[in-house]
């Protein structure tokens, strides 16, 4: 693959990493467990790659590997999102709303 593509991808990686740092830093302690669950779901993005491998069904090996990969990552994605959602649905606040867990205003 041409070095240009590699470098562009490094650009993307660097920017995404920086962005990640900025947004994650703002997540309050309160939500750290849901955050772990969510990122856990995201970490199964390899699903995309798995689909390609399995979809091409090139060799028996690749089919087997791809199949396992798709199953595994699907478990991770589906389970992860359901779990996170289940958790978050539990978070309630007492009236009147207190401000301490609000994000700070945009100024």
């Amino acid at each position: 693959m041409s070095a240009d593509i590699i470098i562009t991808n490094l650009f993307v990686f660097a920017l995404a990493g920086f962005l990640g740092l900025e947004v994650i830093r703002r997540v309050p302690k309160l939500l750290h467990t849901p955050l772990m669950a969510l990122t856990n779901a995201l970490s199964a993005i390899a699903l995309v790659g798995s689909l390609v491998i399995l979809g091409h069904a090139a060799t028996t090996y690749s089919i087997i590997m791809g199949f396992v990969a798709v199953v595994a990552s699907t478990i991770n994605v589906v389970g992860g999102f359901l779990l996170t959602d289940k958790m978050l649905r539990m978070f309630k606040r007492r009236e009147p709303p207190a401000a301490r867990t609000q994000p700070e205003s945009s100024s």
């Binding site: 590699i6 955050l35 390899a46 699903l47 689909l51 390609v52 990552s73 999102f81």
Partner: protein, 466 residues
């Protein structure tokens, strides 16, 4: 053309992921965050299925695999009790990592001839990481589920072994880079990765597992990003990068809260080993009380602070605790919850449990906010917490948790500790707090004890209201 539209959809998906993390920054928006993430995934999957080159049987396989995956994923997501959260997360990490590793491997065998040096290097790294996270996460899950011994397993020449394995793997990757055709190398790299994952976790104590999990999460992200580099798939790169940073930050936060040097955890065992050395054991008489005595004291006080810990999670006592808080409130007692950042087994573990029991989250106080107030507190009710209230962290230089910021409950007027025995907490060390003259031990399972307390308190109220 079609390819470009797919790429654009990937871009949308990537933005969805970024938004989902951004919206986690506050409870009101968090649900929306999930939605964004889910939309991201739907887009990603849809676009991928639209890629050219898929065979019909391929589509069939995919359909089956997706179904099976969902069939397992749904119960895993819905049925797992909140207390089993850490091992649950570790487990599903292992799945994601396995997928990443397999994709990398398959890609190698399919493309062997077309792979450039850079890709081979990244690919090798990716496989190593993937397999490592796979076994590592399984180990972590096992330890947390107590299928495996919690205590660190250490042996002579451990670091040597680990370094050897790691070194061998890296050497092989280099060889692979220069002999792309040497297909025999890949299985060995895989094996070494699997082995290293185990070796890495074996010597780490259960108490470090959550940190390790966050770290493995970040590794998983890295391997996804690496895969993206190889497949030139920017969506993988973005998701991987976001994931990697998030895991990294979480583990750093945890280390801070337990004041463990991040280096230690980063290199897993290498240094965590002495974690479990005991400080000199405190001695002396302990005062224990019965639930009804405890209830008496509680409802005659003005301000009560409840400090939940891992024990509450084990006992599933959160709902009873909520009842107790309400009952005391009815008695005119002010009740607050003090949450230590690493109470339980995950960051925010207690928050989730109490949220499950409908305790409004603005009733929970962070360590920094509540510590100054303990001197004004009449009674602190320590519910299955131990290490996070161990005063040794403040003054006993010998103690392994020395320096870890704790909830300074010993500054309060009275301390009640609810636990089943005098046994140690996760750090495996004695807790002098239990021998403090102002401390009352209330032995028993947290759920049971709190249940009794509720009855006493409410019962009492009924009599009064006659």
């Amino acid at each position: 053309m079609r390819l470009h539209i797919i790429e654009l959809v990937y871009l949308a998906a990537a933005m969805g992921f970024a938004l989902s993390l951004k919206w986690m920054s506050s409870p009101p928006t968090a649900r929306r965050g999930i939605l964004a993430g889910e939309i991201g995934f739907v887009l990603a999957i849809g676009a991928t299925l639209a890629l050219p080159g898929f065979t019909n049987e391929g589509y069939i396989y995919i359909a089956v695999a997706l179904l099976i995956g969902s069939a397992i994923g749904v119960p895993l997501g819905l049925l797992v009790p909140m207390t089993a959260m850490p091992q649950r997360i570790a487990l599903s990490h292992s799945f994601g990592a396995l997928a990443a590793a397999l994709v990398g491997t398959a890609h190698y065998y399919l493309e062997t001839t077309h792979l450039g040096k850079f890709e081979l290097a990244v690919l090798g790294f990716e496989m190593l990481l993937g397999f490592l996270v796979f076994t590592g996460s399984l180990m972590a899950a096992g330890k947390l589920q107590e299928l495996l011994p919690q205590r660190p397993i250490v042996y002579k020449g451990q670091n040597a072994t680990n370094f050897a394995v790691l070194g061998a793997a890296l050497v092989l990757i280099i060889v692979l880079v220069f002999q792309p055709g040497a297909t025999w190398i890949v299985p060995i790299i895989a094996a070494l990765g699997l082995a290293f994952g185990i070796l890495l976790i074996v010597p780490i104590g259960g108490a470090d597992m959550p940190t390790v999990i966050a770290l493995l999460n970040s590794y998983a992200g890295l391997s996804a990003a690496a895969l993206g580099l190889v497949l030139n798939n920017k969506l993988l790169i973005v998701a991987g990068a976001l994931d990697g940073t998030s895991g990294l930050i979480l583990s750093i936060i945890m280390c801070r809260a337990m004041n463990r040097s991040f280096r230690n955890v980063l290199f897993g065992a290498f240094g965590a080993v002495d974690e479990t050395a005991d400080g000199e054991a405190p001695t002396g008489a302990i005062r224990s009380a019965s639930p009804d005595e405890a209830a008496e004291i509680l409802k005659n006080s003005r301000l009560v602070v409840i400090v939940p810990g891992y024990g509450m999670a084990v006992a599933q006592a959160q709902h009873k605790v909520r009842e107790l808080a309400d009952a005391l409130a009815k008695e005119g007692v002010e009740v607050r919850f003090a949450i230590h950042p690493v109470a339980g087994r995950m960051p925010g573990h207690m928050n989730v449990l109490l949220a499950e029991a409908n305790v409004p989250y603005d009733q929970l106080y962070d360590m920094e906010d509540i510590n100054p107030e303990f001197p004004q507190v009449d009674v602190v009710l320590v519910l299955g917490a131990n290490d996070v209230v161990n005063p040794a962290a403040r003054h006993n230089k010998g103690s392994p948790i020395y320096g870890m910021p704790i909830l300074e409950v010993d500054k309060a007027q009275t301390v009640m500790v609810v636990k089943r025995s005098m046994r140690a907490g996760f750090a495996g060390i004695e807790n002098e707090l239990f021998y403090d003259p102002k401390t009352l031990m209330v032995f028993g399972d947290a759920k049971k004890v709190v249940g009794d307390l509720v009855n006493e308190v409410t019962g009492a109220r009924d009599r009064v209201s006659l």
